[in-house]
Amino acid sequence: MDFERLTQSLIEPIRRSVISLPRTTHDALRRATLEEEEIGRTQLEAMLKAIDIGIEQKIPICQDTGTPTFYVSIGTAFPGFCEIHQLEPALRRAVQLATQVIPLRPNTVHPFNGSNPGDNTGFEIPQVIWQIHGRDTFHLTYLPKGGGCTNMSQLTMMTPGKGIRGVKDIVLTRIATMAGNPCPPTVIGVGLGGSDVMCMELAKKALLRPVGQRHPESFVAELEFELLEKANELGVGPAGIGGKTTVLDIKIEYEYRHPASFPVGIAVQCWANRQITVSVNANGSVEVIS
């Protein structure tokens, strides 16, 4: 496996991830303009214009180009699998290089003294989340997540007796109270069950499912749809100054839980729902999938 080539190959997908949006998100924003009255429409039009400028001039749509997370899905039958311990350093170099050449905003700062290494890395940033399967494919997703929306994340260790109604209450209350802070219309990832940590990971991973795509299990899909409809009755609106489009979508992922615990995790993504997935070849080249 040519890891040096992989580092180089990732620069263009990282660039593409911050200068444009996934088609499903872009389409959802366009559709929302038809729903809104003037005040909300003006905000959505500014967002769409910012996307057009991003694509035309190849500059980041939003100045907050996020902190980087990579989701790795790799098969043990992938030709370079035995050398895969070299992947994390290669991804780290890709982020450092991308920060310089695109450029990205150097976001990571030391929590004690505020110093900034200038290259978007930390001890284990970019974070790499692994999924290993038995096939011969290797997919990588890059998720640069902004600070404004991430500040609205929430973990509630709900009393289990409150049940699914309690979940609805927590999610809708969060969307109402965070108002315009996370740059609505947002995409909401909800994690249900698991441990505390698993629950937040599920919530964040839920954001990777394309806008408009429902959960494969109908009882989950129905809850997603109900929450989506009700969230958009709240009236927060685009940019949080009133309107019908408060969320573009709500995604739920779940796991079995301890009988005494019902973790409810909420991960919030701004309208600039930036992410990109590539398929990696053994020679280090990549192809954008979505």
Binding site: C62, L172, A176
Partner: protein, 196 residues
């Protein structure tokens, strides 16, 4: 659309009301959390800030910048979440007399009271639209505390032409679109919860 120029004129700002839209031509300075702390520390120590903080609009923003052979250029520069600056803005107005704040997401009661006291406004630019804002920047006039604070937190003085549209969401009369909307949303939430 109303046009504000810098140095900011007190009367022009007092006339602005919520739902007015305006743009700015002149100089704005960026300031996030660390920059506010830095300038307030200077004030508390009796030192003068390196530029006239009271004459210019304060833009809650940490831009993406590019250095082309020693000349700084703005790449993308939308607003950051303003509520974080609720910790500082009343002291900031008392110290420097700054009267125009630009950001996103709105600010709270403490800032609203200070805007009334000083005849100031808070205006919102569409969050996330950093590429759109960058088009209004003609050049970077100067930068302060870059080595100490890094690119996002440094204070950038940006020369802008028709930076906007900016929507007044909090005015000097104590009105706040954010507050009014939060009350409406809270009523909607209570109604929806009953139907769950």
């Amino acid at each position: 659309m109303i046009l504000l120029t810098t140095p900011i004129q007190t009367e022009a700002v007092r006339k602005l009301k919520v739902f007015d839209t305006f743009s700015i031509t002149g100089t704005v300075f960026t300031a996030r959390d660390a920059a506010h702390e830095k300038l307030l520390d200077l004030y508390k120590n009796g030192s003068n800030p390196p530029f006239s903080v009271g004459d210019l609009p304060c833009f809650h923003c940490g831009p993406v910048m590019r250095n082309n052979d020693g000349v700084w250029e703005v790449v993308s520069a939308g607003p950051t979440t303003s509520s974080r600056m609720d910790l500082f803005e009343d002291q900031f107005m008392d110290a420097f007399g700054t009267r125009v704040f630009i950001g996103k997401g709105g600010m709270g009661h403490r800032t609203s009271a200070a805007l009334q006291k000083h005849g100031g406004i808070y205006a919102q630019f569409t969050g996330g639209a950093g590429s759109l804002m960058a088009g209004a920047v003609k050049r970077v006039e100067s930068v302060y505390y870059l080595d100490e604070l890094g690119i996002p937190e440094a204070i950038w003085l940006l020369n802008v032409v028709e930076f906007g549209p900016l929507l007044v969401t909090m005015d000097s009369f104590g009105q706040s679109i954010h507050q009014t909307l939060a009350e409406k949303v809270s009523i909607n939430l209570d109604r929806i919860k009953k139907s769950l």
